[in-house]
Amino acid sequence: MDSDVSALSQLYLFRSVPPAALQELCALAPPVSYPTGATLFRQGDPSDHALLVLSGRLQAFIHTGDFQRQVGEVRSGEIVGEGALFNPNGARSATVVAVEPSATLQLDWGLLERSPNNAAVIALEQYLLGTIARRIRKTNQSILAEWRAEAMLEQAAPAEAPTLKERILRLLGWS
């Protein structure tokens, strides 16, 4: 456990957290290690816990029909699957795979219930607030762009209105 506390103390999100609080977090959050190639989450599965990555590297993939595409990476100090902590009846939005041997701590609803005043838990919550807020901003900007395209359709002459293909490209940020 001392090595886990040491690993946590190196993470930016725990920069102001006393060692005793990190020790309590380690006692309550089971450490889980994954070898290269292991699947941590599978898209569509029920989501019941999140993972704090202590070391290693994960990649996230989305499967749609016959297509699979990498949609992101998760590295040391980041959290994956956090939706499970506040929307426990949801489903995994992506498949997450270890592309390097990875050490993690498993976080779940029970941990938050048992130790609400723990400084490390508070630091996690503050970190997650910033992370989720950034994702919302990004998604809302995409929706706003689509609304603007709709406004152009209403007012522009048909020959000048963006085609559906152009609207999709705009939505993706390709134009």
């Binding site: 749609t64 595409r69 949609v71 939706g83 609400p116 723990n118 919550e125 559906l164």
Partner: protein, 210 residues
């Protein structure tokens, strides 16, 4: 403000936003840190573009949430009905207000100003925990709702495209999948039409974005 109203609306708000360790008395204690407001019909709670100075707990009534489109017209995003939290996004990330909120009928609310908000966010107390987790529960659900909305828009677009030429159909499958990455909040880092690498929001992209 009447304690019965606070307690009943605190309980109702916790039915909307469930989170570990939710306690009605802690939320009431949190609400009592704010300033009660009474707004008549048409009064503005906050304005798009302004710097955030408070978040609001809607206790009675409704507010229209409006945003300007590219032509400068106000468009209604949604109607928030009590009990609800309003204006919290801008407080969390410090960005300007993304919408204007206008009372639709008489409204009673509580405003939690920036000073109290920032102090509570750090508190290792039941009311501090309640504020953090209420925000997290709300933001989490908001992201899910926004993603579903975007998916609905794209599904409608794809339906129209399915009647077009084969070239568009081939592109659409790939594009829809990539949009799924956008829906999950992953940042698009585009190198070209044939290859797209998506990096997680908040990370530095390894190659320049378009």
């Amino acid at each position: 403000m009447n304690d019965d109203l606070l307690r009943s609306q605190a309980g109702a708000l916790l039915q909307v936003h469930r989170f570990p360790g939710a306690r009605e008395d802690a939320l009431v204690a949190l609400l009592k840190q704010g300033v009660p407001l009474r707004l008549p019909d048409g009064a503005e709670l906050c304005r798009e573009g302004d710097q955030p100075d408070a978040l609001f707990f809607l206790l009675e009534g409704k507010v229209r949430v409006m945003r300007r489109d590219s032509k400068g017209r106000d468009r209604e995003l949604t109607i928030e009905t009590a009990p609800a939290m309003v204006g919290h996004m801008a407080m969390v990330d410090g960005s300007p207000r993304s919408a204007t909120c206008i009372a639709s009928g008489p409204v009673r609310a509580i405003a939690l100003d920036r000073k109290n908000y920032q102090e509570l966010l750090k508190e290792a107390t039941p009311r501090g925990t309640t504020l953090r987790r209420l925000l997290l529960s709300s933001l989490s659900q908001q992201l899910t709702d926004a993603n579903e909305r975007l998916l609905g828009l794209l599904a409608a677009v794809e339906q129209q495209l399915s009647g077009d030429q084969g070239e568009l159909e081939e592109i659409t499958g790939e594009h829809v999948m990539q949009v799924a990455g956008v829906l999950d909040g992953w940042k698009m880092d585009v190198q070209g039409a044939q290859s797209v690498e998506v990096v997680q929001t908040g990370q530095q992209p390894r190659r320049p974005s378009r």
